[in-house]
Amino acid sequence: MKHYKGILARAIVALLMCSHLLVQAQTDSIFALDSVEIKAQSLRQTKIAGHQQSWSAQQLQAFSGGGLDQLLAQQTGIFVKTYGGGSLATTSIRGGSAGHTAVIWNGLPIQSPMLGQLDFSLLPVGFTDELQVQYGGNSAMWGSGAIGGSIMLNNQFRLERASKLQYQGSIGSFGQQSHQASAQWSNQKFGVRTRVLHHQADNDFWYTVREDLPQKQQTHARLERRGLMQELYWKPNDRQSFSAHFWAQDNFREIPPTTVSTRSEATQADEALRLSLNWQRLGKNSILKARAGLFKENLLYLDPPNLLESNSQFRMLISEIEQTNYLKGGHQLTSGIHYQWTDALSGGYVDAVQQQNLAVFVQDQFAIKQWQFLASVRQQLTDFEILPTVWNAEFNRSLSTNLKLNGKLSRNYRVPTLNDQYWSPGGNPDLKAEQGYSQELGLVYHRLGERSSLDLEVFAYNRNIQNWIMWAVAEGENFWSAQNIAEVWSRGLESRFGYTIKRSQQVYKIQGGYDYTRSTNQVAIEVPQIEAGSQLFYVPIHQGFVGLYWQWEELLLSYQHRYTSSIVTVNEPLLEGYHLGYAQLSYRWQIGQFGGFAHLNVDNVFNRSYRVIERRAMPGRAFRFGLSLDWQRPHS
């Protein structure tokens, strides 16, 4: 019996690990904890197959002050379609559109229901404690939009008897300045943290049009971002925990002219208020999580010379309950219900519009000998209309000590955005949801030696999406309207390698990767003029990178070289491919209760003239120096 209790205790610890309530200082009893880390993420974040990347709070520090767009462009295989210098930045994952990336904050989707996407330049890295990118379709878990991939932003907090103050600042080229301060206090039951940030940039960089012509300077590109994040954590007993997160942010930016226009006086102001509440309860063999979110965003676009004033706003209320039951036979059965109410108003809409979504989902994870399986299914109703049932089935099998094979089949979808349905002119309330199937196979090799480690990963995928929504000119009309006219076939290969050698106090590391992405529209379209079989706009076929790292104790020197191949654009036949280099020197220290981190980043090391989007200038070589100071004191 005693032995049985020991097994049970370990099992419960395992459950806690699975539920992401990580035990940091474990004793014989799981109920006597010195510190506990609370994460507000969903139970569904775990996956057993497919390509994924994650960053810890410490790894994110080198990008603090910047937007998430910079990190994604430099550290992932995601193509970030950026208008440059803090302007609008969206993603294309595995040849998908900007609306095919689900963005999940503490388990809740935060993409705009009006646009179906998120501007990653507006997401400050400094408000994220953990970042995860999951490549590939995952609609069965995350709902609409999770077709190309999903990006998870999580907050986490360690409940311990301590106070902490932190300041992170950076200054850089083109008038960049960023300041972020954080204060937190906690004991083993309560925790409170306040973060504020201010970021500004002039973005008055010079760019080259042609070698024999004088350089031009970017104008009207100033931006300013202010944010506040307030978090409360409460763990009243060993089985329950609560957290509340309030995120307020306002952003102002001037919209620079294109390289083929003389001037711009347009500005854009984005305001976002996000509140999320999380509750978790541990049962004997189960974990129950409930969360609710209230999001309110406002976008005001002004262009006085053109007498344009566009104001759009939405409110979104989301609630979700999910429970994982640990059943006999090793089954981890997760089921839940998700409800979403949206109210949106725009100058482009005739009236305010409301939308309701209700979804139920079930997921089972289990193992049979060397095989691990995960299967999930989701059914959504949008305004009482039944959407396609989406599902996901994945496996992972160890082929040897170091080699694993994994694979995934899934059906995914994206519901039309509110703009697709209600924008006047062109909105089409009768649009169907985009939907399709994807298949994926991956091989992962990991060998950890005494002084070295080797990682090799390769993933191949195939995806077909029907009813792809595109804005096109219908026959006999002179305005653009949303139509289910495209069918897109995406297929590709993602490969990664990493080799690390440790020698005494030094670590040498080389990392690299190559992504091949073919994403073609299979249907000829007249306007826009798209030939059947042609590559989608703004999806590079080849992307590659090589990174070199040298670490000596806490000193780190790194260089990363990235290549992006030519891109099909809207107006030019092809936008030239480009090479970019990123270098970083950083040092971390800890003296008693005081810690610090200093870094110097050089972006576009070789000062290459390049374009990510036609007619949009990109900055040349840019320097950024950052300093982070923290003070932490335990208290009784």
Binding site: S261, T262, L307, L308, I530, N571
Partner: protein, 315 residues
């Protein structure tokens, strides 16, 4: 208002100047009343209005004269700020797809004399400075060989003419960038080369086009659309092929008249006023232009065989 006048004293003409539509000052009619178009003189200008989206295509009529404001909000203004020949009212075309002008009354199936044409302020500003969607002509370097072209063809008895009249609303294709231009005055466009017509088709094209179609705003302004009204017993006139030189001219122009009989030549300014008349004899004929002020003029030749109107520049 419909009115008749004689050009060179040979043919009666009807001009649609849209003043009879009584558009209030600084205003426009864009078809929001569901009328489906506008009639003036011998033309009907079709309009398609979408009440759900408050958008229109085809033709509107306007008295808007904002010559400064860029952008779609100023889509009804002409860049000269008024109609042709100092009038108040003019027509505005919005034709992302080719658009139609129907010839009515006693002009149907007859020859079209021509019309005045210019850019809308919205287009002029966009071509000159660029905007969020369209490029400034010349591009980043100023050397791009850009153009904004209006091509006009005629329908007669259901058949589309093979001949067409091209008019460059902007032309940046010159090797010497100083010659690049964007039309900003009302300019007479001779359409006699199209022959007889029941309707005309207007097609805009631009070098600034991508997969989503033309980026340049698909607008232009038109006024004083003039048709010839022949008696049914009279054969329609043919477009004459009249050769003259030099162009530009400084002191005189030489007009070669290689037809039997005589013809009447008239020089008109862009306001439509005849500033010189001359009788053409078989052979080479000199017409003095020395005393004319520098500018653009029209040389109009009328004879029993037909007529011709061509533009020349007096330096």
């Amino acid at each position: 208002m419909m009115f008749l006048f004689g050009t060179a004293g040979l043919f009666a003409q009807t001009t649609a100047d849209f003043e009879d539509l009584s558009v209030p000052v600084d205003s426009f009619f864009n078809g929001s009343d569901g009328s489906g178009g506008f009639s003036s003189g011998n033309v009907f200008l079709p309009n398609s209005y979408n009440s759900m989206f408050s958008s229109w295509s085809g033709w509107s009529v306007s008295t808007k004269g904002d010559t400064v404001t860029a952008g779609l909000s100023n889509q009804y203004s002409s860049v000269p700020g008024i109609g042709a020949e100092g009038s108040a009212t003019f027509a505005v075309a919005n034709m992302f797809n080719p658009g139609i002008l129907e010839i009515t009354n006693n002009g149907t199936g007859k020859q079209v004399e021509g019309m005045y044409i210019t850019n809308a302020t919205y287009v002029y500003r966009s071509l000159l400075e660029g905007d969020m969607f369209a490029k400034k002509f010349g591009g980043e370097t100023g050397d791009d060989p850009d153009f904004f072209l209006l091509t006009i063809k005629a329908y007669k008895d259901g058949n589309l003419s093979t001949d067409s009249v091209d008019f460059y609303l902007a032309d940046y294709r010159f090797a010497d960038n100083t010659q690049d231009y964007i039309v900003k005055e009302w300019t007479w466009l001779d359409l006699t080369g199209l022959g007889d017509a029941d309707s005309l088709v207007f097609d805009l094209s631009s070098s600034d086009s991508g997969q989503f179609g033309m980026n340049t705003p698909a607008y232009f302004c038109m006024d004083n659309f003039t048709t010839r009204n022949f008696a049914t017993s009279i054969e329609p006139a043919q477009a004459l092929n009249v050769r003259f030189y030099p162009n530009p001219a400084q002191t005189q122009i030489t007009v070669d008249w290689d037809q039997f009989g005589t013809a009447e030549a008239a020089i008109l300014n862009l306001q439509g006023t005849i500033v010189r008349r001359s009788r053409l004899e078989q052979g080479s004929n000199q017409i003095s232009v020395a005393d004319l002020s520098a500018g653009i003029y029209l040389l109009q030749v009328n004879s029993q065989e037909g007529s011709s109107t061509q533009r020349f520049v007096k330096q």
